[in-house]
Amino acid sequence: MLRIRQLQKKKQEEAEAAQMAQSHGISPVATNRVNSAHIRLQKDITELDLPRSISVQFPNPADISYFEITIKPESGYYQHGRFRFAVSVNENFPIDPPKIKCLQRIYHPNIDLEGNICLNILREDWSPALNLNSVIIGLNFLFLEPNPTDPLNKTAANVLKKTPEVFRSNVLNSMRGHYVDDGYYDNVLR
């Protein structure tokens, strides 16, 4: 406490000097503080810098911890599709990664039929140094370059690995809302 008291004394003198200089009172502490998870989220959201093909919607603007994103890939197998995702962030952000789920039933090697996504930076490789922008860009990348070596939908991954032409037509059929290998998919064409 001695060191602390010395520091306090020094600060007090500085504050008094400053007060004399500009007659500015010492202000008490604000009682309604904004928590740091919220500030970080506000920073991440207002500084999103996304390509034109990705848009962000807030169903309830009063609650920024939940929002939806729409990805419309401009090239690749999934061109012309409109893919919707739900993003939710908890009070422990950015220690905990944002949770992202696909809202449609789609045919994709790295996304299963329940909407779970296999993207390393959403789970095992998440770090507080990453931000919302980086995970959304990572998600976008899955549509430009589906990755058959890390599959969540194994059937789709095998097709992509062995016969890319068949995969291309499967993706097209699934995006139209047709059946592929006995499984139905949501129509995602705009």
């Binding site: 904004v34 500030i39 207002t46």
Partner: protein, 428 residues
């Protein structure tokens, strides 16, 4: 007083930075009068409470929101079987008071959440010792105590934070705004063990993979309600599914207790680790409060899983820390200013350095410059008076792409209630 403690107090520690200013009588007085808050009455908390009382501290407060569970009894030695379901804080306080023979000893328990207490509550303590098991609670208390510090360093309450994880632990001293705070070093946290979804889904090799498959993937396919790790029936279902999956992939060792451990991310708590870390925490409290010896600066890690190893270092302050990197700035705001006026005034304030800021308070989003949907939702606030949106008790959090971190601002309202008709009034 305990003769061992008395002889300690009579000897000036070799690392005392200001031995000439050390005063035995003052130190003795500090021991008797310092008000100490212990947060957590679990594995660490039991040890800390006992140590503080035996050291001779007499004014101790203890908070814990939990009640006693059968599984606590192996290490939380202040509790007995008949105490199950009772408040940890209350039972611990009563037990220590009954065992420690010191007529001055006062222990005040509180059975509830730390968030229930206002800032004024935390201001009354000389020192806070944390024996917590959650990152959220630590972040909360850290942010609260750092925010208490005024511009002249009044209301400075040191935090001593202990933590254990199996055979490892750490203790650290946080002098708010002086040393690094808990938030400064968040990146040093051991990340939670997670497995890639693709491994869980396709190529499980470990019992944990089967359990995560059941709780994260199979559960979602079967049920629409969220999996709850505290619900016994949910855990039973996950356990059965995990076992079935284990048989399919020839993976053994899936037990119910492992299942519970994986879904609740339980790390076994070890009594000896708790005792070592609690001892270090109380040692620091003793040194800080009596000035008898120099205190830890500021982080000690202990590892007991591969022989015994400790390492002490100074965890550096993070200049970009969202909690202690910025002190709340007070900005004067004319009573008649609209939010739009206020934002354009902010752009001209050299101490703020903002270009296109977004602002919010704890309760409301005042103005978001982007993305378009939030701009649309908040732009109607621009023409409202700031005074009608924010009070002097509210802190405004400002983010801006030109700021490496955020700004915390507090307002002081002054001047006329409505825009002066004559521009001369403004100038004068």
């Amino acid at each position: 007083m305990n003769p061992g403690i008395d002889s300690l107090l009579r000897t000036i520690g070799p690392y005392n930075g200001a031995p000439n200013e050390y005063n035995y009588e003052f130190a003795k007085q500090q021991l008797r009068s310092s008000k100490i808050l212990v947060i957590g009455a679990g594995g660490l908390g039991c040890e800390i409470l006992k140590n503080l009382a035996l050291t001779g501290f007499t004014d101790i407060h203890i908070i814990d929101m939990d009640s006693i569970d059968l599984s606590n009894l192996n290490r939380q030695f202040l509790f007995r079987k008949e105490d199950i379901n009772k408040s940890k804080a209350e039972v611990a306080a009563r037990f220590v008071k009954s065992r420690v023979k010191n007529r001055f000893l006062k222990i005040v328990p509180y059975y509830g959440r730390i968030q229930d207490k206002p800032v004024e509550y935390y201001q009354q303590f000389s020192c806070i010792i944390c024996g917590l098991d959650s990152v959220e609670a630590r972040r909360w208390i850290n942010a609260t105590v750092v925010a208490m510090v005024g511009p002249a360093m009044e209301n400075l309450v040191p935090i001593i934070d202990g933590g254990t994880e199996g055979f490892r632990g750490q203790s650290r001293v946080i002098i708010p705004t002086v040393t690094s705070c808990y938030e400064c070093t968040l990146h040093m946290l051991t990340p939670k063990v997670t497995y890639p979804v693709c491994t869980i889904a396709n190529t499980p090799r470990l019992p944990e993979h089967c359990i995560e498959w059941a709780s994260e993937l199979a559960w979602g396919q079967k049920f629409s309600v969220k999996f709850d790790a505290d619900n016994e029936q949910h855990v039973d279902w996950v356990f059965e599914q995990a076992q079935a999956r284990g048989r399919q992939f020839h993976i053994g060792g899936i037990t119910r207790s492992l299942t519970l451990g994986v879904v609740k991310s339980i790390i076994p708590s070890i009594a000896s680790t708790n005792a070592i870390i609690a001892a270090s925490c109380c040692n620091e409290a003793f040194k800080i409060l009596t000035d008898n010896n120099g205190h830890l600066d500021n982080y000690m890690m202990y590892s007991g899983d591969d022989s015994v190893f400790t390492y002490t270092f100074e965890a550096a302050k993070n200049p970009g820390c969202p909690v202690c990197g910025t002190q709340t700035k007070t900005v004067r705001c004319q009573n008649w200013w609209t939010l739009e006026t206020f934002i354009s005034e902010m752009r001209t304030m050299p101490e703020l350095q903002v270009k296109n800021p977004s602002l919010s308070t704890a309760g409301t989003k005042l103005y978001f410059a982007a993305p378009p949907s939030l701009y649309e939702a908040t732009k109607q606030n621009l023409c409202k008076r700031v005074k009608d949106l924010v009070s002097e008790d509210d802190e405004i959090a400002i983010t801006d792409s030109s700021l490496p971190i955020s700004l915390r601002v507090k307002l002081e309202f002054e001047g006329p209630e409505s825009e002066p008709a004559n521009i001369d009034v403004l100038v004068s």
